[in-house]
Subunit: 150 residues, 2 copies
């Protein structure tokens, strides 16, 4: 489920720039590299993976990630194996779920058809009612074998 880089850089990049400007957060070279790196990815990327393509000081990368996260531009994802990965926030790349390959460790995004997503929201809502819990978000991780490994 590859995100179209051009679409992201034309349509969404303007939104990202506006959001950062509103919060007086500068979109520096390093930060833009992070956004681009994540926008052109099939799924969430770890700090180390980003660092491999971006270069520069690791600490600066972490600082960029922290700034972008608190500005709501990127989100953290914790894989089943405990790896921390980063991805563009849902309002940019859309609500989606993750396919985790138990063989090769790959994490891929998957957008669900609206009907399925609606059904899932219904389930979440009903669980909330049952448990006296007020759901605001949900994350469905599916583990199994990816296209390449099965």
């Amino acid at each position: 489920m590859r995100i179209d880089l051009n679409m992201t850089s034309t349509l969404n990049m303007a939104q990202i720039e506006r959001r950062l400007a509103e919060r007086r957060v500068r979109l520096t070279g390093g930060r833009r590299a992070v956004v681009d790196g994540l926008a052109s990815s099939d799924g969430p990327k770890s700090a180390a993976e980003l660092h491999r393509t971006i270069g520069g000081a690791l600490s600066s990368l972490y600082r960029s990630l922290a700034v972008l996260e608190s500005a709501g531009v990127i989100a953290l994802h914790h894989s089943a194996k405990g790896f921390v990965r980063y991805e563009l926030a849902p309002w940019i790349k859309g609500h989606h779920h993750h396919l985790l390959c138990s063989n090769c460790g790959a994490v891929d995004d998957t957008e669900m058809p609206a009907a399925l997503e609606k059904e899932l929201r219904g389930i979440v809502k009903r669980i909330g009612l049952r448990a006296g819990f007020k759901p605001t978000d949900h994350a469905l991780d599916i583990e199994g074998l990816c296209t390449r490994c099965r």
Copy 2:
């Protein structure tokens, strides 16, 4: 080394003992304390939380966790905030999902009614078909406000 014999079910404990015996893994005091600590919990516990009640050396606790995990008695859970928590394996406590409170950080287990769980399995299966992915397991984390915080 404090050993708490507050086990949820003698039945489960017998199964656990049998499984460990089969694999020639000794159920020592420290390991039993881990199992008891997890059995008496409403949700997954972090190593630090377990250590607070169990005592002893932290490294021994981690070793107990590793042994029990490779014996299939406990499972790891990575919360949305990146905290690693441990819980009894699904074959002991049943398949369930997690309610994550975004206010107080609590993680609670929730077992879904069979009908809902079946519906969820259906969704997972259909996503797998769409993406050419062969699902073996799934994890649904619901974020929101718990009973106490909402």
